[in-house]
């Protein structure tokens, strides 16, 4: 399915980390020309999305082979911390959709500073200390199945969604889905940012609970259910995944919420223990460069830092200019978000609203 050259489960290759970092998959991208260097990328990001970027990078650097190791976010964070404390090289560049993890790593002194023309172009909300850089622009969107949801039901704000669930509870009970923040770093980030934005959040969660909303760990599972019609409306999904499905022909439509749009940026970082920090920095530069941004926008993420959305998306022309833009700022505030005690409290509250409520009914 994926055009992958060499792929194998690498857990056994590095037994030390096997205990803490499971489900790692390693993919090799041989150099286009005679190989003289290997760039090691450890990432908590979909290879599908990253592959066009890696290949384009190799078109620029034909003599560099790329080793791509895929983790889930928490495992990557753990592996990176351990490597940093031990002073052992792990990767030349780390990519993660859980930018709070990268911020924590940078705060702990595990990142290398990198400044270039390309990093200077990155908006200030999407970088911290010139160590952590956001390279994608991913709005959290509402997705609905247009075969099953009548046009008058389509919610364009959170209040409308809550209202819809209240007034047509019978039609939507068990057919609304959202991220499970307990199981997904991105879900947690999106949910906690949501919670801080508006008082409508409480009401929304409450209506989710009443409507027995379905929670899934990942955007793709939600999209599967939406495309098959088992779910009608999905809330807080990553726009890039959703749009990929739309392009693939699923009967889905995307709404950028008109009250405010939370935007997440996947992070890239050169670890302080990188074996080839120059290659890591070159890859970061590529991701932030106009060419990398263009490739990403055309082939993987579909939204750009200028806030422009693809034409099929129902929403303002530019998220950034509309005043509805709520980026998850890459900075030390994410340390509080990331704090274990805080996370436990938040998730407990969330569970009480969602699960207990739905369990009662």
């Amino acid at each position: 399915m994926r055009g992958i050259v060499g792929r194998f489960v690498a857990a056994l290759a590095v037994p030390v980390l096997a205990a803490v970092a499971q489900a790692r998959e390693t993919t090799q991208f041989p150099a286009v020309a005679a190989q003289d260097a290997v760039l090691t990328i450890h990432a908590a990001a979909d290879l599908t999305a990253m592959e066009p970027l890696i290949r384009d990078f190799q078109a620029q650097h034909p003599r560099v082979a790329v080793t791509y190791v895929e983790y889930v976010t928490n495992d990557l964070k753990l592996a990176a911390s351990i490597a940093c404390e031990a002073g052992r090289p792990l990767a030349d560049v780390i990519l993660s959709s859980a930018v709070d993890h990268l911020v924590r790593l940078a705060n702990d002194g595990c990142a290398l500073e990198h400044r270039s023309q390309d990093t200077a172009r990155t908006p200030s909300w999407a970088k911290w200390r010139d160590e952590v850089f956001g390279f994608t622009f991913e709005p959290a969107v509402i997705v609905y199945n247009y075969d099953a949801v009548p046009a008058e039901d389509v919610p364009r704000t959170r209040v409308e969604l809550a209202e819809l669930l209240r007034t047509k509870e019978d039609s939507y009970r068990g057919r609304v889905g959202t991220y499970d923040p307990r199981r997904s770093g991105i879900g947690y980030l999106l949910t906690i940012t949501d919670a801080r934005q508006t008082s409508a959040y409480g009401r929304l969660i409450e209506s989710f609970g009443r409507a027995r909303a379905v929670v899934h760990c990942c955007t793709s599972d939600l999209l599967d259910d939406l495309a098959s019609g088992r779910l009608l409306i999905g809330y807080n999904l990553l726009g890039s995944y959703a749009y990929a499905r739309v392009r693939a022909g699923a009967h889905l439509r995307i709404v950028l919420p008109r009250d405010y749009t939370v935007v997440l940026s996947r992070g890239a970082m050169v670890p302080s223990t990188a074996g080839r920090p120059d290659l890591g920095a070159a890859f970061v530069d590529y991701l932030l460069s106009p060419r990398g941004q263009r490739t990403g926008r055309e082939r993987a993420f579909f939204f750009g830092f200028d806030g422009g959305a693809p034409p099929e998306v129902d929403g303002p022309l530019s998220v950034v200019d509309s005043g509805l833009f709520r980026p998850i700022t890459i900075g030390p505030a994410l340390l509080a978000v990331q704090d274990e005690a805080r996370r436990a409290r938040f998730l407990a509250d969330w569970s009480r609203s969602m699960i207990d409520l739905s369990g009662e009914q």
């Binding site: 200030s124 911290w128 030390p332 704090d339 805080r342």
Partner: protein, 463 residues
Amino acid sequence: MPRHEPSLFARLAGTITLVLAVGAMGLTTAAWYYARAAADEAYDRLLVGAALQIAEALTVQDGALTVELPISAFEMLALSERDRIFYKVTGPRGDLLAGYPDLDGRPPAGAQASRPTVSDGRFRGVPVRLASVGRVFADPAVQGWARVVVAQTAEARWSLARDLTLNATVLVLAMSALALGGVVFAVRHALRPLARIETALTARDPQDLTPLSLDTPREIRALVAAINHFMERLKGRMTLMQRFIADAAHQLRTPLAALSAQVDLLAHDTDLAQRRHHLERVQERTGQLGRLANQLLSHAMVIHRTEAVPFERLDIVALARRTLRDAVPVSISPDIVVSFEGPDHPVHVNGDQVSIREAIANVIDNALRHGAAARLGVCVRTDACSAFVDVFDDGPGIPPGDWQRVTQRFGSDPSGGGRSTGLGFAIAREVATAHGGALSFREPDESGFTVTLSFPRILDERS
């Protein structure tokens, strides 16, 4: 040749540049300290605020102390964009509730537990600023002090302090440059009157010794006054010399004419007795002429010395005794008794030895020539502040009416040469005056007619 001195302008400009440079350095240093303090104060507030906010978020739930880290506290700290944040929240028993277990933020000994404290420290090898806040719990389940420590790296502080200092430095440098420019202008302007004086002096006729009449600033009025005073003295000196030359010429002309007449008579007279008489007259006239020439020279010398020779400390007793010995010729009439009287100890005055000797010698000479019949005496005496040299003789003396006249140069003698004092008293008076003393006369008494020279004594004398 005088050494080549740097110009006034260079000196002033150099000194002021130095002062400005030192001042600028001082101000910049002060600005740095001030900026550091200001940056610390500004960011300390945020730090303490964040710590207090976190402490506020401590709650007891189900008998356990928990903390829900307020994101706003971290957003506040994130105002210093590049700084890393470390934190630790501990319960009463030191149990870690959140954050970095290895962050050490115990408040300094003696600090009140409830008061927020701020200190400098290091964490994981980087310098940090630490704020520590305590919060007391008196819950049945949780009792004692919970502690919140928040640390932040100092990049924003340094960068703020650097910016502040840089701005201050730019201002200081601009002010210094302005001051230096002003000084250059002011110094040039201030030195302009000197150039005017120079021009005025150069443009002058060499004969012109009138005072300079220039409008000058107060500061160099003294210089102009000194120049004027000098010119005044020069002018006085020149007048004196001119008069002296005129007087001397006149004085020499008369005896020379008389001598010439005598020589004529000598040449034409055939009578032996007459010729002898004329010869005696010639001898007499030649002697007078010689004495006159001596006195003129001596006077010129005295005038020169009073202006030019620095005074020295000398013993007036020894000087008077020596002068008397030298002044009394071997050919003196054996009828005349010469005496010297004076204190056994030296009496010191400040003066020019040569001039004073000349003065005393002149007075003695006058006494020998015109006064003394049987007695000539010199007596040195002192009072509290002066030394006196009395020269007395048993001659007829000078009538008080003539006292004034005889002390003037070439005070014309109405008797036409009988008792011409010539320059003797004039010299003596001038010397005494130049030394701050005086020449005086006393009418004849039992010791005879007395001429007294007085000089101020050196008072610190032990005697």
